[in-house]
């Protein structure tokens, strides 16, 4: 009898992931045993420290490319850059929660490790080269998010959001698993590269290819759900509105980043030869997403819901890059867009938190009225985020949009780029509405914006990043460009 061969494991290739997971696990225990109630903020600071350490650990890995765990996990500059972006997203989300949780009376220490676990799921998604690993990543991310969504426990909308997200998310997970089963049945492997090699030799009419296509469709549905592509977006506004605001902020950028990173790999390592089948489908979904997201946002008077719809619209713009990832510029545009969107959107959510107050009528557009007269800097920062989300120069949002459109056009989808610019003209309408409220109307008295250290840090980092990348995008472009050298190799 042959002895079981354990494939060699190179832990250094998953060092950042390892740091995040270990740190989060230890932090859970430390929080329970050593950090007293009322000082849970300390846990938050420790969590941020963990994310920073993970980022630093990644530094020496720049340029390293390799697979481990028998080819199931891959590290390359693409994954590493995304890892840094995810760590940044995690840190900014934690920073905006530090005061939010006690203010809302929902401060629990495990919140912070949970965010770290979610980040680890995202990193795993960026590193996964095997459907099982991708599933693992998606579930790590999702299960923590189910909990986080319901974190504002006494508030009914929060519970409702968690329930909706859980039920629908479970469906999506089911699709994912069933899709994996079909793909495995067809190809005999869950490894992306082997699936790709298998599909390359098949022609239409081959039963196994049909099976593979069916499986791929199921997996794509699961992804479309996670990323909130229309028509799989219905859950998004309710879930965002119900969840604690920092969680909504984290979800809006984190889930998209993680799931789409995995989608890039799946499409271009696993299914590159089948793109004549999935490209039209995804292109249709993307067009629909941009239209539905941006039109939906126009009708909102609740800023949180508006941002939820806007995040659907932005999912469409990111998809412009993802779909054409076969071209060098596609994944470049994807990384750049995710980074810029993360900064602008987290910044916008941070401002939203500063204005949030207890009660049913929170997040009204009218709360922004006259903000410029009460807190000029806060209003200016929010204006920067809004202009960036709308894609007006000289903010980073413009550069990101420009890049995504260029990628789409290069990838042979000019009509989709056209839909992109037309919907962005619609989008200008609702972002401008916030700006008009802030600068051009009189304040309506209540609520006084409450800033604190974490929020201020968030807003400053996001605003400086948004303007800085907008004016001098070359260094970030260069970083992104170099991240792509080894993708798909």
């Amino acid at each position: 009898m042959e002895s079981l061969a354990i494939p060699p494991v190179d832990l250094s290739l998953i060092a950042p992931l390892l740091v995040v997971v270990t740190w989060a696990t230890v932090l859970l225990l430390v929080d329970v045993f050593f950090i007293p109630d009322g000082r849970k903020k300390l846990t938050g600071y420790l969590a941020i420290a963990g994310l920073v350490v993970a980022g630093l650990v990644g530094l020496p890995l720049w340029g390293v490319t390799g697979t481990t765990f028998g080819g199931m996990v891959r590290l390359d500059p693409f994954a590493l850059t995304l890892t840094w972006v995810f760590l940044l997203i995690g840190a900014l989300s934690i920073a905006m929660s530090l005061e939010y949780l006690p203010n809302q009376g929902i401060e629990q220490g495990e919140y912070y490790p949970l965010i770290m676990f979610a980040v680890s799921g995202m990193i795993l998604l960026a590193q996964g080269a095997d459907l099982i690993v991708l599933f693992l990543g998606i579930e790590t991310l999702s299960i923590t998010l189910y909990i986080l969504t319901g974190f504002a426990y006494p508030r009914l909308t929060s519970e409702e959001a968690a329930m909706k997200y859980l039920v629908l998310g479970a469906f999506a997970a089911g699709f994912f698993v069933y899709g994996i089963a079909l793909i495995f049945g067809a190809t005999g492997s869950t490894r992306l590269s082997e699936i790709g090699a298998y599909a390359a030799g098949r022609v239409l009419g081959d039963l196994n290819l049909t099976l593979l296509l069916g499986g791929a469709a199921m997996v794509l549905i699961a992804f479309a759900f996670k990323v909130a592509l229309a028509p799989f977006h219905m859950w998004t506004p309710d879930v965002y509105e119900g969840s604690p605001t920092p969680v909504a902020a984290f979800m809006s950028v984190g889930t998209k980043g993680g799931a789409l990173a995995a989608l890039v790999r799946l499409l271009f390592e696993g299914l590159p030869t089948l793109n004549e089948y999935w490209l039209p489908v995804l292109a249709g979904l993307t067009a629909l997403t941009m239209v539905v997201g941006n039109l939906g946002a126009v009708a909102q008077t609740n800023v949180k819901r508006m941002l939820a719809y806007s995040s659907i619209g932005h999912a469409g713009y990111v998809m412009l890059g993802v779909m054409v990832a076969g071209e060098q510029r596609g994944p470049e545009a994807f990384i750049f867009y995710i980074l810029v969107y993360a900064l602008s959107n987290l910044g916008a959510f941070a401002v939203l938190i500063a204005l949030e107050h207890e009660g049913e009528n929170a997040w009204r557009l009218d709360d922004f009225a006259g903000l410029y007269q009460r807190q000029p800097m806060l209003a200016v920062a929010m204006a920067i985020f809004m202009f960036s989300l709308a894609g007006v120069p000289p903010t980073a949002g413009f550069m990101a949009k420009f890049y995504a459109l260029t990628a789409a056009w290069e990838g042979g989808l000019p009509w989709l780029a056209l839909v992109g610019v037309l919907t962005s003209a619609i989008a200008a309408f609702f972002y401008l509405r916030v700006i008009i409220r802030m600068f051009m109307t009189e304040p309506e008295g209540e609520p006084e914006p409450a800033l604190n250290r974490g929020l201020t840090a968030d807003i400053v980092i996001a605003a400086v990043g948004t303007i800085g990348i907008g004016l001098i995008p070359a260094p970030v472009f260069a970083l992104v460009e170099r991240s792509l050298v080894a993708l798909g190799g």
């Binding site: 007006v392 000289p394 309408f429 401008l432 509405r433 995008p473 070359a474």
Partner: protein, 525 residues
């Protein structure tokens, strides 16, 4: 680097922005200091820009060479986004020279006008004015399409705030309309320049492997003319249309003009002056620089139709202006009419028409700014813009009346003043153009007559007759600042009128080169 050996254009471009930055350190309450810093910056910018016409080579190559890209002067080039081949590339030629001068010249006048009209949050008003100044100069001097687009879109932000924060009752509606109209108008241009970039890159990469694309205007032009990049008819027309739409909204060409009266009426005086004086010119400039130069065949194809729109604008704007009882609306609609002339001149596609259009843009910038200042002067004193509220002011404010007469006549196109030269040249151009002809001219001349009618109506109801309203009997005449502004504006109004040759000389070479290419294109097609 250029004929001066130092980055003059960058200095002119960024000086206002630097002034805006400096203003951030002025306490918000110190309105006086803020105004002074702003005025000093504007004056310094203008003085610096005086070097441009002084050192400008009016005939850099002795003769126009068909097929060469436009000859830029004061050129600066620094890599900016190597990954897509975009550069920080500045330069001016005869087409942009006078428009840059117009912008820098109007700067100090605009700032002067804020002394009496802006009292709320003065510092931030000045910051926005200065940023806007940088953005507008940037549009004229950028020689990289992406950089151009950046400045082009950025002008929206400060202007929207100027209208929306400091405007009158309906300001929010006007600000929103202004932003959305012009933003929606330009998104297609973004797509068009991406398309141009990729088409060009693919075409060049076929002969020069490894070419990564560019956004350089002169490279597009030279490759188009050398036949290294060819656009098929449909593509060229689509690209032409995408660029044109953005510019037509800005100009604004009938029927894209509806944002303009609202924006003008609601904007504070300084905002109206900038809007009419410079912002509208961005559109006309864009048509000449980009539409005609990059897409000559499509320009030939579209010229008659666009000229019809221009003529409709001329007549419509003038007729509606005549019917207004609100002075600011009257002047706003007169802009629609006057800018119609500009578009008519541009699409005559000959040297007379284009030079006339360029000069007319400068003229309109001067006269209409002066008209808005005039309305502003009255509004500050009486807080109404209704014509019926005035009358007989000649007796009360004689100096003001004299300047207003000069301005009104200039705008109406009286020979000897600037407006006449521009309109006359445009009409000559349209008449001689094989694409247009006398029928266009006949209607355009109707516009000139109507212009005289509404401007004289304006002047008569405000200044002539008896002082009908007791409140008007004691109005003070122009104060020192207002006098300075009007006196400054009168200088070019008269100088262009009596000696236009100097101004035509500057643009002559560039226009001749452009027209030579248009003709070569027409012959080739």
């Amino acid at each position: 680097m250029n004929q001066l050996g130092f980055p003059l254009l960058s200095l002119i471009l960024w000086l206002p922005a630097a002034g805006a930055l400096a203003l951030l350190f002025v306490p918000r309450a110190n309105a006086g200091l803020a105004r002074q810093v702003s005025l000093a910056t504007m004056i310094a910018t203008f003085l610096l820009s005086l070097l441009l016409p002084l050192r400008f080579e009016t005939n850099p190559m002795q003769m126009a060479v068909v097929g060469a890209p436009p000859v830029m002067q004061f050129v600066e080039e620094v890599p900016w986004l190597p990954i897509v081949g975009a550069t920080y590339s500045l330069g001016i030629d005869g087409i942009s020279l006078w428009l840059v001068m117009l912008t820098t010249f109007l700067g100090p006048i605009v700032t002067l006008s804020t002394w009496d009209s802006v009292h709320k949050d003065v510092r931030n008003f000045q910051i926005l004015l200065l940023i806007l100044q940088t953005a507008m100069i940037g549009v004229f001097v950028a020689q990289d399409l992406l950089l151009f687009y950046l400045f082009w879109e950025f002008t929206l932000i400060p202007m929207t705030f100027l209208i929306g924060i400091w405007g009158s009752q309906n300001r929010i509606y006007a600000a929103r309309k202004f932003f959305l109209y012009t933003f929606a108008g330009s998104v297609l241009m973004l797509l068009a320049l991406i398309a141009l970039h990729i088409l060009h890159r693919d075409a060049i990469a076929a002969v020069e492997p490894g070419f990564r694309g560019t956004f350089s205007f002169s490279q597009f032009v030279s490759d188009l003319r050398a036949g290294r990049l060819t656009l098929d008819t449909t593509t060229e027309r689509l690209l032409f249309g995408a660029f044109f739409l953005a510019f037509a909204v800005k100009v604004p060409l009938w029927p894209f003009h509806t944002w303009l009266p609202d924006a003008h009426v609601e904007a504070p005086t300084a905002g109206s002056v900038v809007l009419a004086g410079v912002l509208l010119k961005l559109g006309g400039y864009g048509m000449i620089r980009y539409n005609l130069t990059l897409f000559p065949a499509a320009s030939q194809w579209a010229a008659p139709a666009l000229a019809v729109l221009a003529v409709i604008g001329i007549i419509y704007g003038a007729a509606v202006a005549f019917a207004q009882s609100d002075m600011k609306k009257l002047v706003a609609y007169s802009s629609v009419s006057h800018m119609g002339f500009v578009v008519l001149g541009i699409f005559a596609l000959n040297a007379e028409g284009i030079s006339g259009a360029l000069l007319q843009m400068v003229n309109h910038g001067l006269s209409t700014s002066a008209l808005f200042l005039m309305v502003g002067v009255l509004y500050e004193r009486r807080h109404t813009r209704e014509l019926a509220e005035y009358g007989g002011l000649w007796k009360v404010m004689p100096v003001f009346a004299a300047f207003s007469l000069l301005v009104a006549l200039s705008s109406a196109g009286l020979p000897g003043l600037n407006g006449f030269v521009g309109e006359f040249t445009i009409i000559t151009g349209a008449f001689r153009s094989p694409l247009l002809g006398w029928i266009y001219v006949a209607f355009a001349v109707g516009g000139v007559v109507l212009a005289a009618a509404y401007l004289l109506k304006l002047f008569r109801s405000v200044f002539m007759g008896d002082v009908s309203q007791p409140a008007n009997a004691t109005l003070p005449d122009l104060n020192r600042r207002e006098l300075t502004a009007f006196a400054l504006l009168s200088i070019p109004i008269v100088v262009i009128g009596v000696y236009p040759a100097f101004f035509f000389a500057g643009m002559q070479h560039s226009v001749a080169a452009l027209v030579a290419d248009l003709i070569a294109q027409a012959a080739g097609s």
